[in-house]
């Protein structure tokens, strides 16, 4: 069983769905990058050998009983981390796009600033990370939308490389978006007047599997996230106390 280990009490969570080819490398990289920090792979009902491969690489596994989507998986990880007393949780995607060598930088920023969330960003500084033209367009669009809502710029609002502290864990355990959570989570934090920072991180091109956001789903993604952002701005707090995401 994972336990918080001093001094950082850090947990690294990896939501994964059918990432058999990449997950072992991801887990090994994380363990090399932050030795001593437990790695929890949250399996969203993979039909391949993701669980066995991740376990063999040294990760703990939290298997979902049925498919919940990335938001449901991440929230399950946050809930478990909160219950077990972890102080910091860093989420890394299971497809190998995030460079685990950046985890210490995210953790350091969380600790030094005391802010509730730190986003590993592709665009704070030029670091060779590349995104497709459609995705870049989407990211720029959401930057514009989020600017007046958050009262500041956010360079990489769709990044899944995110670290949170215990205050954010408390909030996200109770209220977290179920689908495409990255952007909406920022609005959830903003409603609590929580702070976030961005640190430059390197993202690698995906080498295995497929992105959950295909070209055909892009329009649905934009509509869904836009609606989610505005609904979160207007949300009645009592709804969040049902203990689930939105």
């Amino acid at each position: 069983m994972i336990r918080p280990s001093p001094p950082d009490r850090l947990l690294v969570i990896v939501p994964a769905l059918n990432e058999e080819a990449a997950i072992a490398g991801v887990v090994r990289e994380i363990r090399a990058s932050v030795p001593g920090a437990p790695v929890l792979v949250i399996d969203d009902c993979s039909s391949d050998r993701t669980i066995l491969t991740a376990r063999a690489a040294g990760a703990d596994i939290l298997p979902m009983p049925h498919h919940l989507g990335v938001g449901g998986c991440v929230q399950a990880g946050y809930k478990l981390a909160y219950e077990l007393g972890f102080e910091y949780v860093i989420r890394v995607d299971g497809d190998g796009q995030h460079d685990a060598a950046d985890i210490p930088r995210v953790l350091e920023r969380l600790k030094s600033t005391g802010c509730e969330m730190v986003i590993g960003s592709r665009f704070v500084a030029k670091n060779g990370s590349r995104t497709g033209p459609l995705r870049s367009l989407g990211i720029n669009f959401f930057r514009l939308v989020l600017r007046p809502i958050l009262g500041r710029s956010v360079y990489d609002p769709t990044s899944g490389f995110v670290g949170v502290n215990r205050r954010a864990l408390d909030v996200f355990s109770r209220s977290f978006p179920l689908e495409y959570p990255e952007i909406e989570a920022l609005v959830v934090l903003q409603r609590r007047r929580f702070r976030f920072e961005e640190v430059p991180c390197k993202f690698r091109p995906r080498t295995t599997g497929r992105s959950s956001i295909t070209a055909l789903k892009s329009m649905y993604y934009i509509t869904h996230v836009l609606l989610g952002v505005f609904v979160n701005m207007l949300r009645y707090d009592g709804r969040a106390h049902r203990g689930t995401g939105g």
Binding site: L62, P63, G72, A76
Partner: protein
């Protein structure tokens, strides 16, 4: 016009029978059948009570009675869809929370079993 109202009556009676059978066989829960029963009851009464339907038509300012009846049916259907969307949303939230809780309990249980095996 009378034929249209008769068809509406027939459909309403058919729906009423289907709903009651579904409730009896527990295919639909009683609390969710109430909305349907109220809607079907309203359609049945309006399609048979011509003066009442005419009164509704005048109140809505429409040229003929069947149109008023179908507009009313459409509005009722929309209200019911909305109600069921709320119910589904709550069920989805509860389902996700339950699945997460099951996963976490299984995790704790496995940890205890592993601890005892050592």
């Amino acid at each position: 016009m009378d034929r249209l109202l008769n068809v509406t009556t027939g459909v309403s009676v058919l729906l009423l029978i289907i709903i009651l059978f579904s409730v009896r066989r527990a295919h639909i829960r009683v609390e969710y059948s109430v909305s349907w029963l109220v809607a079907v009851g309203a359609m049945l009464v309006l399609s048979r009570a011509k003066p009442l339907l005419d009164h509704v038509r005048n109140w809505m300012g429409l040229p003929d009675s069947p149109l008023s009846l179908f507009l009313l049916a459409g509005a009722l259907a929309l209200i019911m869809f909305f109600r069921f969307s709320i119910v589904i949303s709550h069920l989805r939230d509860d389902n996700v929370a339950l699945a997460q809780r099951v996963a976490m309990l299984e995790y704790h249980l496995r940890s205890i079993e592993n601890h005892e095996d050592r």
